[in-house]
Symmetry: C2
Subunit: 333 residues, 2 copies
């Protein structure tokens, strides 16, 4: 379907459909994540084939899509989008036989992922990119048994994939960089927000960050330091409100006031030695100090402190308003 | 100012003003956090005295308040709220001499906090609660040199204190539980969202969680695994969008689908052994498993999975809309 007048930024073989012209997508595994992908692709107007070995998978998938569809409709469906464009197949091979992209969302077991990716590779047309939703396995470890590992990439989404924009894209040692570029471009066309990683890091970026938070939370529950409810409230009423608007690095830079991240590191650097989490901090040497300060300057991208503060404040106010958190104080004052 | 017909839930002495009747608040330290507290209290209609030893502190404080005031006005000021109700004093003693509550927001240095709290205690009227904005020092370690340690509590805010609702309140070994209760109630009356902790934990709750995330982020920058910009985007485009709506525990429970947190732990429990962060996870034994599952059930508070999914989805959509993230996909589909 690649038309002569279109230049595709990367294709894995001459017969590969360009990211802009993909019409048919296959989802292998249709649980919470795979089903969320199905809902996303349907809402973006794709024809979707889905397969899942669980006996009641089709019923659960329909239920998930029905629950998500009103939300997706309110967000605005792509032209021609319809839940009728879903076909649930009896076999994996049927799901991928005629597809232009495959998203695998099987349970998080390395052996299972390996076997499934090899099976999918064997049944998928040549040149079609196959992406795994794995939460953290490096593709190098998953592509070991596939005949054509070059087209296997990680495309890691966040739950629910039909609402949270981020997809982390990275290849393995045997992945063709063109497949990584193709997948990144395809996800963008499909309405996602993409971070393409140059190197494999277990857990990628966002999952390493949220896994650190999750493990600290589990420690706190295990030791009786906090309840599940306190942990959740501490985020939704606190840092979580900022993180929807501005990331943790720039957020902390603003806490440094006019001195920015440099002042923040001067001020809170010593706290890296404090037992404020079970995670040991890196040595805050000059190289790290400079990298963090320069990175924040770069991320600020010319915006002044006043600009950033105003942006953050307006963003937080919008989030507070959108989530019904205003006027909660009790006093008349 | 305690009137006979009002029952105060907790007072630290007969002459203590009830939380509902406080009119005068003192802020010691007027940098980014202290100044943010000043802006918050002014917007809630209090008379505020502020002191900071920095030579240009008054100028910076006025600038911070001027920048925040339009936002606070759009949120709705309390009756009578005015920036004219701020008095910047020349000495700490003048700031606290006639106050009904004190918020300390000095730099994060233990010796400095200890000395300052002792000085503040000596100059503040008897029975008035003094709270520290410390990011993580236990009050037990800070109250060692004060003559009246019983009225010293931690009231830990998040930047900016005039927008982020959360305050974590906890006392030290020598704090009167009545002072903790008074402070918690006062912050609620003043429009904050309070978590009162029974026990001292360094970093409290939210800061332990965000410090774990922060340290993992610093490690990633130090090792070249991710840039500052990638780290920030990975949160704002990913988990950060959920965390403004639903905390990390309940968010993960929803990823377990109809099996909830129990299924999530069955599925991702083994990942606790994976190197997805530098933080070692606790042993997922039966006690922890049960505590997390029961905690999520309790936090769900009778809401079904479908209810929770609908709530999360609507919340995320509202946040996406409020922060201008809709219609960002490029494709026509």
């Amino acid at each position: 379907m690649n038309t002569p007048e279109t230049t595709s930024p990367a294709t894995t073989s001459p017969e590969t459909t360009s990211p802009e012209h993909v019409r048919r997508v296959a989802c292998v595994g249709a649980g919470v994540i795979g089903g969320g992908w199905v809902a996303h692709f349907l809402a973006r107007g794709y024809d979707v084939t889905a397969w899942d070995p669980a006996p009641d998978a089709g019923r659960k998938l329909r239920r998930l899509i029905d629950a998500a569809w009103p939300t997706l409709t309110s967000l605005g469906l792509a032209e021609g989008a319809s839940t009728d464009r879903l076909t649930v197949t009896d076999t994996l091979e049927q799901a991928v036989a005629d597809t232009e992209f495959v998203q695998e969302s099987a349970p998080e077991k390395l052996d299972l992922k390996r076997d499934l990716l090899a099976r999918m590779d064997a049944a998928t047309p040549p040149g079609v990119v196959i992406a795994s939703s794995t939460s953290g396995y490096p593709m190098t470890d998953m592509q070991t048994t596939a005949a054509n590992p070059s087209r296997l990439v990680v495309g890691h989404p966040f739950n629910p994939p039909y609402l949270i924009p981020l997809v982390e894209v990275v290849g393995g040692e045997r992945t063709d960089p063109a497949a990584v570029a193709w997948a990144s471009r395809f996800y963008e066309v499909a309405g996602k927000s993409v971070i393409t990683m140059d190197d494999e890091v277990p857990g990628f970026i966002a999952n390493r960050l949220q896994e650190a938070l999750w493990r600290e939370a589990l420690h706190m529950v295990a030791s009786g330091e906090a309840t599940v409810r306190d942990i959740d409230r501490s985020i939704t009423e606190g840092p979580g409100l900022r993180w929807a608007v501005m990331g943790p690095m720039l957020t902390f830079a603003l806490a440094g006031g006019e001195g920015g991240m440099a002042h923040m590191l001067d001020h809170f650097g010593p706290s890296l030695k404090s037992p404020w989490t079970r995670l040991e901090a890196p040595e805050l040497d000059k190289a790290l100090y400079d990298a963090v300060v320069a990175g924040c300057d770069e991320a600020a991208d010319g915006r002044s402190l006043a600009d950033l503060v105003a942006e953050r404040d307006q963003g937080v106010v919008d989030v507070l308003r959108a989530t019904g958190r205003l006027d909660r104080g009790e006093g008349s004052r």
